[in-house]
């Protein structure tokens, strides 16, 4: 028993030594390069514009802190809508893969196989190129449904009481998704949906065949059997891996920086380039993502306990 304490003390000392080595080097390097440290920069004027602000007021005269807050809001906006979309599409895919219709099941399987085996970043570039290079300009915008316009300036759709109308070189009114946001949203949604589809399929398959048969013998239709008998049981197998997909989607939204959507990472990157304070910038990114990760998994654990069998200990 004694020996193990010596091991542990040695390990902790070694870890401490490594951290101290890095920290002292960093302090020296920062001094040599005359880089300021501390969080003072947060209250200085940022001096850069942000293309879209998710409803927050922002101008170049605002502080870095406000710029980062706008970035965080943008991250939340794309992640929340993405999670909703991916859950919906993923559930449909999972059900489609189990469909008795051969064509539908094979199509869904093909989708999952293709999407899962291509890096998300490639897919984001693809969607961005498709929207910004291959869609026509606002004057010739595609109009698949009344009031909905697809153009290389973004996607426009009506809101209650406000229709998008072409005026000059762009649309006014309605709601607009910028090309960057649209590409990121479509990419994140379609990519994550492929993974969620597999989770849903595995979850449903984990419910024993007899449960279906019992439901049928009670006179329930396939749809009702799924809704009332199979799904509540499948959810128990689905929720834990679903949580990690939600987390993945949120973390993957950081790829926004590559296509120019101003998410948290992208704004932090600009901030680092302007102030030179890389450590604070990266720390900000990491702290925020850790906080998001911990709160999503906390929430999902709570939900998981709710759908778990009563009296079951996990």
């Amino acid at each position: 028993m004694k020996k193990s304490w010596i091991y542990q003390a040695a390990l902790l000392a070694a870890a401490g030594l490594v951290v101290w080595f890095f920290a002292s080097n960093t302090a020296q390097n920062l001094e040599a390069r005359k880089i300021a440290s501390g969080l003072g920069f947060l209250w200085r004027e940022s001096g850069f514009e942000i293309g879209e602000t998710s409803g927050l007021a922002y101008s170049a005269a605002d502080t870095y802190f406000r710029a980062l807050a706008v970035g965080l809001a943008n991250t939340f906006r794309v992640a929340l809508i993405g999670i909703l979309g991916a859950t919906l599409l993923g559930t449909l895919l999972g059900l489609a893969r189990l469909s008795p219709n051969w064509l539908l099941a094979k199509l869904a399987a093909l989708y999952v196989e293709v999407i899962r085996n291509v890096p998300l970043l490639v897919q984001l570039f693809f969607w961005y190129a498709l929207i910004s290079e291959n869609l026509p300009g606002p004057r010739e915008a595609l109009n698949p449904f009344p009031g909905v316009y697809l153009s290389n300036r973004g996607i426009f759709f009506p809101l209650p009481g406000s229709m998008p109308v072409l005026s000059g070189f762009n649309f006014q009114g309605g709601a607009q998704l910028s090309p960057e946001f649209a590409a990121l949203l479509v990419g994140l949604t379609t990519y994550t949906a492929a993974f969620i589809g597999e989770i849903v399929r595995a979850g449903i398959q984990s419910v024993r065949r007899g449960q279906f048969d019992a439901a049928y013998s009670l006179g329930l239709e396939r749809r009702a059997a799924l809704r009332y008998i199979v799904m509540p049981q499948a959810l128990r197998a689905i929720v834990p891996p679903l949580t990690s997909q939600y987390l993945n989607l949120t973390k993957n939204s950081s790829l926004a920086v590559a296509i120019g959507y101003p998410d948290l990472v992208s704004i932090a990157n600009t901030t680092m380039n302007q102030t030179g304070q890389a450590i604070e910038g990266i720390a900000a990114i990491m702290v925020v993502y850790l906080a998001i990760s911990l709160s999503i998994s906390g929430f999902m654990n709570w939900y998981n306990r709710r759908v778990a069998l009563k009296g079951e200990h996990r």
Binding site: Y7, A32, N101, L103, L104, R116, E133, N252, A278, S293
Partner: protein, 350 residues
């Protein structure tokens, strides 16, 4: 006919779905085939032919394929990265066969990697020296993925064992590392390696950009692999630990000779899946300015004469990534469907 009735028209809703899919295919496939094949430009000396055409510009891929595959490597030396890529892929394929899973496989790898190093760097046997800032394209992606998995694997085993250790300080350090890394996006780890690592080191010590990206990918993947290995460790029934202990084996002997060989066999399919993830994740080095396969594709689009063919270029990139990832995922499915693959030889034969 029976098959069609059973699988496509077994019920009314089923028939409606089939007809809806056929209708969509009828509406969407012909225009797509028009764009991708019939009206596509397959070869052209300049982009003008492409701009006039209605279809896809595959000529772009033909024009730029050397740059996409080999990056800025000296043009007359392209056979070297080509051969090196072939050797590396050959090593992977060779290692996939169970018959080759022997101790000498590691010697084959060492020999193969030395050959690749000689080919890529040169400087000996009359080969011109090429500094690794000029490496790019496919070989860089393959090397990042190969070394990432090879280096992350031992680290992951240590982390997984540490997480299950009886010593609280060891457990704490390992849990903190794994959860911290898994809680943040890969980009932030890459930024950290590219921006912060130079600050961490004593003044005057510099590490090459490629190596920094490699360190980041390794440290990131290790955390995910550790969880996979832990899953394997947890699947080992407790009596295996007790039996090993009863034989009087100490912790390291018990772990190395009894527990790990079984745990890793169980974990092979999810391990392969994590490697697929790593292979896809190497594309993120684009963001810190390394010339991997995706970066060469993106840069090849920047030439004004050939800009605007992003869709074609990224479809081509997708096809290359898909080829590798799909092969790996089929391989892992094959292992899953033949559980004997993982079982010790003695068990298999009885």
């Amino acid at each position: 006919m029976n098959w069609v009735r059973a699988n496509l028209f077994s019920s009314w809703p089923n028939a409606v779905v089939t007809l809806a899919i056929l209708f969509l295919a009828w509406r969407l496939l012909p225009p797509f085939a028009d764009w991708a094949i019939l009206k596509a430009v397959w070869s052209a000396t300049d982009a003008r032919a492409c701009r006039e055409a209605q279809g896809a510009c595959w000529a772009f891929v033909g024009e730029k394929h050397r740059f996409i595959l080999f990056g800025t490597y000296p043009f007359d030396q392209h056979w070297r990265p080509a051969l090196a890529s072939a050797v590396l892929i050959g090593l992977w394929v060779f290692s996939a066969f169970r018959a080759n899973w022997h101790w000498w496989l590691s010697l084959v790898w060492v020999a193969g990697l030395v050959l690749i190093g000689v080919l890529m760097w040169g400087g000996v046997f009359g080969l011109r020296y090429v500094e690794n800032e000029r490496w790019g394209g496919l070989i860089l992606t393959l090397l990042l993925a190969t070394f990432g998995s090879a280096l992350a694997f031992p680290l992951a085993i240590l982390l997984a064992l540490g997480r299950r250790s009886r010593l609280p300080a060891v457990r704490l350090l390992c849990v903190a590392y794994i959860e911290l890394v898994r809680g943040v996006p890969l980009i932030s780890v890459l930024f950290m390696a590219s921006v912060m690592l130079p600050l961490f080191l004593p003044a005057g010590v510099t590490i090459d950009k490629l190596l920094r990206a490699q360190i980041a990918l390794t440290l990131f993947t290790a955390a995910y692999l550790a969880e996979v290995v832990r899953g394997g460790l947890q699947a080992i029934p407790h009596h295996q630990y007790e039996a090993a202990e009863a034989l009087g084996l100490g912790y390291w002997k018990r772990t190395l000779f009894v527990i790990l060989p079984q745990a890793l066999r169980i974990a092979i399919p999810p391990l392969v899946n994590t490697f697929i993830g790593l292979f896809k994740d190497t594309s993120l080095v684009l963001i810190i300015g390394l010339f991997d396969l995706l970066t060469t594709v993106k840069v090849s689009l920047q030439e004004p004469a050939w800009s605007g063919f992003g869709v074609e270029a990224y479809l081509a990139a997708s096809a290359i990534y898909f080829l590798f990832c799909y092969a790996m995922s089929r391989y892992s499915q094959g292992l899953e469907q033949h559980p004997a693959a993982g079982a010790p030889r003695v068990l298999r034969e009885t």
